[in-house]
């Protein structure tokens, strides 16, 4: 990691400095090598936690930082058809808030039942957005069950 990168404190920055013992954590994410785009490996004990980690990872990849400003709450609901579509829809919704209202979030309350996900998120305006994510893709997207919960690899078009 170079010195410039260290200066870019982002949401979830604490995850970036993990190296050796990363996989011992209950939930987390790390960036994978991808030639043209960004790819994230995410793991968590259950689906709501996986969505939260994916969101934190996405914000970190795009160097998203929150401004020191009054906190704002947003609420929305998404249909639950399958785990992968829910993941794409949830992250896409966060990207839309970023573009439309210049907002990002670092507190997540996610309530999932068999037909929908209810979301309550708390955040603030984005300070100096640095990198653009065009879209969350379905490329090789498969939420897999593991001994410790769930894992997934997500490719972002940038």
């Amino acid at each position: 990691m170079n010195s410039y990168y260290r200066r870019e404190a982002a949401i979830g920055q604490e995850n970036l400095v993990y190296t050796g013992d990363m996989d011992s954590r209950e939930a987390g994410f790390r960036e994978l090598e991808h030639t043209a785009d960004w790819e994230l490996y995410v793991w968590a004990p259950d689906l709501p936690a996986l969505l939260e980690q994916a969101a934190r990872g996405m914000y970190q990849l795009s160097h998203t930082r929150l401004a020191d400003a009054p906190r704002l709450v947003r609420e929305f609901e998404l249909p639950f058809t399958d785990r992968e579509s829910l993941l794409v829809d949830f992250l896409s919704e966060l990207l839309f808030y970023g573009e439309e209202e210049n907002l990002a979030f670092d507190e997540y309350q996610l309530d999932l039942d068999e037909s929908s996900l209810r979301v309550r998120i708390v955040g603030a305006p984005i300070e100096d957005p640095a990198k653009e994510i065009k879209a969350v893709t379905y490329h090789r997207l498969a939420v897999r069950e593991t001994g410790r919960g769930l894992e997934v690899q997500i490719v972002f078009d940038v």
């Binding site: 991808h34 043209a36 960004w38 839309f96 653009e132 997207l141």
Partner: protein, 483 residues
């Protein structure tokens, strides 16, 4: 996993993965590449993605891969695939989220020597006149009704608004207006994202670049295009912004259900598709054309403001500071075209994802002045290396669905680039080479470093050696604006 022994060498510039390589392939994969570039490309998953693309229903001929290939999502970047129209499929992921991402080239009679003392001011003025950066809005705001008109009209909308000339329109692929656009097939969210972003560059690998025409290889073609050795040219690389991204996201989402309805089995969910004559396929085609027309307007408006910047900085120092349009082409697009396949003329949808249309001489779709030389093809390099102007050939019509490469192509991952390259160091290095840089983000700059890209000259030598394009001129950057 694909190894070099799985490929059959056709020539020094062409290799093939036979249909027998994997059971679910419907057509072979033809790769335009030298052995060296092939070995470089095999470090990522581009060829596996091309094999996946070769499973789409309704494919004809081969799936093609250009020498600037690299791993993308679904299709590889540098991929070309043609499906039989109308019963074959269209795949939004095979066109990409940035629908009609493309390049516009403007030429000038401004000599580099004359302009050199003012290039730093010119970079500043371009940065000021042409809005760029993550999610940034532009100087134009349009109502929803006006956006609907723009989506249908394309570049002629910009002409009506005083942001274009007749020559600009004529020298744009499809005249800057793809017929069959229907704003009724575009979501409210896409329109909301699109309204404030007309005439904006965005971020990532998009740029505005002032170039020096360093060497001319085909003096007749260069003369027809108005490109003169030692003079300046301008490239604009961008697409349909949030409008196109949202349209693609919307349809990749709805097509997840369509593949089940039509019983289509695919190796990757990003390849979702629908028959072009199905309600879903027709709706996507109509929406995609809205985004394509939006992108033509976007580059047109940026060109208008770039002209203002040139006039402001150079108007008092040179005899003629005007920038004339050379051409504007898409490199992420699905187009209904007629091609000769196995001796028969066939109507197909050509998916080009990170590949450029390269129609040869005589094609009626080209503006009259270019019909004898072939379609101009614009191949941008990275911000520290050369770019190329080529022309399409008869060979490209016969062997690559009238397509060729679109750029240098990445070779280094973004994570590696940002670990190894410090944006501020890179900016200084490029400035030291006489390239004036304006960048919204140093972190973004490091990911786009020249070292992260292949050798563009090797890529161009490959398409030229294969005969699917011919060299006209080589350009080198002197000022770059990045979002």
């Amino acid at each position: 996993m694909i190894t070099i022994s799985d490929l059959k060498k056709i020539s020094d510039f062409e290799w093939e993965i036979p249909k027998t390589f994997r059971e679910d392939m419907r057509v072979p994969v033809r790769v335009f590449v030298t052995e060296d570039l092939l070995k470089e490309a095999m470090r990522d998953k581009s060829l596996e993605q091309a094999v996946n693309a070769a499973t789409l229903p309704g494919l004809v001929g081969h799936v093609l891969v250009m020498p600037d290939m690299h791993q993308g999502y679904g299709f590889p970047i540098g991929g070309v695939a043609a499906t039989r129209y109308p019963e074959g499929v269209i795949s939004p992921g095979g066109i990409g989220y940035d629908i009609n991402c493309g390049v516009r080239l403007l030429g000038s009679q401004i000599s580099y020597e004359e302009a050199n003392p003012y290039l730093d001011d010119l970079a500043t003025a371009l940065d000021k006149h042409c809005p760029s950066g993550v999610g940034k809005g532009g100087h134009l705001q349009v109502s929803e009704k006006e956006l609907d008109r723009l989506c249908v009209e394309g570049s002629p909308w910009a002409l009506r608004k005083g942001h274009a000339t007749q020559q600009d329109i004529r020298r744009t692929e499809e005249g800057g207006q793809i017929k069959g656009a229907d704003p009724g097939k575009v979501s409210e969210r896409a329109k909301k994202r699109g309204r404030p972003q007309i005439g904006t560059l965005g971020a990532g690998n998009h740029f505005i670049e002032v170039d020096l025409i360093e060497e001319v290889y085909d003096s007749h073609a260069a003369q027809v295009m108005g490109l003169e050795e030692g003079c300046l040219a301008l490239q604009i690389h961008c697409g349909s912004r949030g409008f196109g991204h949202q349209i693609c996201s919307d349809y990749v989402g709805t097509f997840q259900g369509a593949v089940k309805r039509y019983g289509i089995e695919l190796p990757d969910r990003e390849l979702v598709c629908a028959p072009m004559d199905s309600p879903e396929g027709e709706a996507y085609l109509a929406a995609m054309r809205c985004a394509a027309n939006y992108a033509f307007v976007n580059r047109q408006v940026l060109a208008h403001w770039a002209r203002e910047a040139f006039e402001e900085v150079l108007g008092k120092h040179v005899i003629n500071a005007h920038l004339h349009q050379v051409y504007d082409i898409a490199h992420n697009m699905g187009k209904i075209e007629s091609h000769e396949i196995e001796g028969r003329l066939m109507k197909v949808c050509v998916h080009r994802k990170g590949a450029t249309r390269a129609f040869g001489p005589g094609n009626e779709d080209l503006p009259e002045e270019y019909r004898a030389i072939g379609q101009p093809v614009l191949v941008p390099g990275s911000m520290g290396t050369a770019s190329w102007v080529l022309v399409g050939t008869q060979e490209s019509m016969l062997r690559s669905f009238g397509s060729t490469c679109h750029g240098a192509g990445r070779t280094m991952s973004r994570s590696k680039a940002k670990k190894e390259i410090w944006g501020e160091d890179l900016r200084k290095e490029l400035e030291g080479e006489g390239i004036h840089i304006r960048a919204g983000s140093m972190a973004g700059l490091s990911e786009e470093a020249p070292a992260a890209y292949k050798d563009v000259d090797a890529v161009v030598n490959t398409v030229s050696g294969a005969g699917i394009a011919r060299k006209v001129a080589r350009l080198t950057p002197v000022a770059v604006v990045k979002g």
